[in-house]
Symmetry: C2
Subunit: 464 residues, 2 copies
Amino acid sequence: MWITIDKTSHIALSRQVYSQIKELILSGSLAANEKLPSTRSLSKELSLSRNTILESYDQLIAEGYLESKPGSGTTVANGIIKYKSTPSVNISSLAPTPVIKKDYIDFRSGLPALDLFPQKKWAKLYSDICNTIPASAFDYCSPSGVWELRNSISKYLFRTRGIQCRPEQIMIVSGTTQGLFLISKILYKSDHKVLVEDPIHVGLLNTISSMGYDFVPIKADDKGMNTDLLKPYTNISFIYTTPSHQYPLGGILPIQRRLSLIQYACDNNCYIVEDDYDSEFRYEGAPVSSLYELNPNKVIYIGSFSKLLSPAIRLGFMLLPNELLDTYKPSKMYSDVHTEAISQYVLAEFINNGSLEKHIWKMKKIYAIRRNHLIKELNQYFRNEFQIKGQATGLHIVVAFKNITFTQSLVQQLLEQGIKIYPVEHYCIQNKEEHIHEIILGYAHLSLDQISTGIELLSKILHQ
Amino acid sequence: MWITIDKTSHIALSRQVYSQIKELILSGSLAANEKLPSTRSLSKELSLSRNTILESYDQLIAEGYLESKPGSGTTVANGIIKYKSTPSVNISSLAPTPVIKKDYIDFRSGLPALDLFPQKKWAKLYSDICNTIPASAFDYCSPSGVWELRNSISKYLFRTRGIQCRPEQIMIVSGTTQGLFLISKILYKSDHKVLVEDPIHVGLLNTISSMGYDFVPIKADDKGMNTDLLKPYTNISFIYTTPSHQYPLGGILPIQRRLSLIQYACDNNCYIVEDDYDSEFRYEGAPVSSLYELNPNKVIYIGSFSKLLSPAIRLGFMLLPNELLDTYKPSKMYSDVHTEAISQYVLAEFINNGSLEKHIWKMKKIYAIRRNHLIKELNQYFRNEFQIKGQATGLHIVVAFKNITFTQSLVQQLLEQGIKIYPVEHYCIQNKEEHIHEIILGYAHLSLDQISTGIELLSKILHQ
């Protein structure tokens, strides 16, 4: 038997013998019922220990390539179809994940200041908790999430949002996207649609439509979703809305519209998904109340720690009406069992010991300075040529430049010159033409210098 | 205006004023256009600072309850429908998540020894990494996962399984369940079915059927899925299989069946999902080869760290054929964006510095001792009355007791006496009667004492 052994290879000797005999069988060079040399003679032939050969043979027997019968030695098994192993498509030509050099100032929205994530504090807390939690914490946890975190969040919501709920209603999810995904899944009916704000976060719209839904865009203006436009629609699974700070336009839904929305949901027996993605960062006035508190039986409230802490940790939660709990839990169970548990314990403690609120308070001051600086720079470079929307809250503003249309080629030109901006038009489903003068400027993750340089560059190019 | 202030409450004073005025408006006690007292006079009336009242009014204006016009003071806004706020259903009667006191010996399968999770090592590594990774690591990552981990896994697979693949093909998922869920989603066609082994892991079967699939059970025997039974079926999206250690029966799929399976997949243009859930813990012979290496274009290989480390950390991966990569990535993106990223960096380093293989090696020795002890105890208490299956690999064995039928009442009786066992029948789709004498005994998480006590108890009750 032609077997070559490479004693310098890091592949175990028995594995080398095994692989080559397997290859001989699969290629047909060793036929069914053919007798193999005894382990003793093969070990001599290859100058290997007999144990090595025994190990290879045992393995081939276990996998069904060889058969061993008392008295008749080891033979090739029957029924192995001659098979040309198909090598994987050569993908050495594929480039590794491209790393785009970010040598531009990126006014992307919804991104917190990642360099101010409390790395040391989080690291120490994780380490303390991982060292001290009982062994049972390393088992699967409930699909609803870690009880300690659900408890902390329910208290946090009462302190900071005036929301009264019980931990039993809080379902931990791996971020807002997953929350919306699972809600879309459990409320799905083939003849039902979803009402969404227009403009809207594109990723979340894709999440909804990836579940097979048709959606109906409802125009949002400076006061959020225009609820006068809801009436014609029936057979609705749910309404997706961002009432505290419409994304991206920034409007706060007034109470009149909130009540119409709730009324619509009651009349049409559908749910409202309230995405409260950044209302903690409110620079003018106290937090806006939630839709949830107006009718906890019709509103699904989604909160996220992506903007409060970091998107990488993938932690968010949903406040579910009681009647959805029984449908929701198996749906989470069969999609990923539960959200990563150890960081849930860490976040619970981070909330309980006051670190989260301290962090938000600190970030709010920093973001307010960045926001004011951005507005100051816009005033300096553009005087009366622009208008700002949605500046009361959050991590971004929308700016309309009266005489500028943000075409693809202008966006590209800006990028080549060193700044990336996001036209509102790209977030529109309908009526794109109404938003051609508007861009989204995310500022929370940018330094004052970056903001200055960015706006100066923007002015230079737009004034050309 | 009747407002009561509780200065001892932990709710901010401005919030108390705000809430009560809001309630008066929503209940209709304050009607549209009604004029509110000036901030100055209300502050005197309530003995509060004028700033407190200003803050409340500003908030109510921001939310649309009040209007302020120069010269005419503050009035209640128009268009607020009189609304009886619906309080949340009283759920104080709901019990908190029931904590079942585990005073029984639980022979549950698929559970590693959680008390031997390397808590200290993992805690320190997490802390080191969280302290030193760049800020960009706290941003969203690719839906495919953290590059460093994908790279480590591709090398690990080559070292330990002989699998050749490139990191570009490795997709990080939040455990096997999510992998199977996303595969089910992207391969879904309404007129296509899924072929599954019978018996099978019930949770994973639910994952498949929760996507809307009909499934066809293919009988598994002591050598895994019986591939002779595949022929009649067409219009198949994929075949779910556990070829290294059939769950739960424990058979190793012989090469003849492997080749038929691949042939079937080629002929029917469908995929094979290979769930390699515990083959690292092999006590007899070297690791069984993967199906994947026979045809990397037809096989989706799923691996998990739940049994190697802990299910709580929710980390697994899939090796995808190149042609599925472009469909897969948006599907992960729109379901949860990506799997928690910081522990991905930690696991990458845990693999790279050799800790994972050391841990597996250590656990394998411990599990082998527990397994041998279990078999010894079975021999002592049951002599020739039983037969063992699937003992070569993994964290559980299947035991058939010739004259015992594991009815629901027997299982209940055993539980009441202090041991929980899992009848194979519960994992069967068809042919339940063939498995009525068999139970699954998971042993990896049990101490030698627990195993002894458990088997002694089992013997006492079964011999009654």
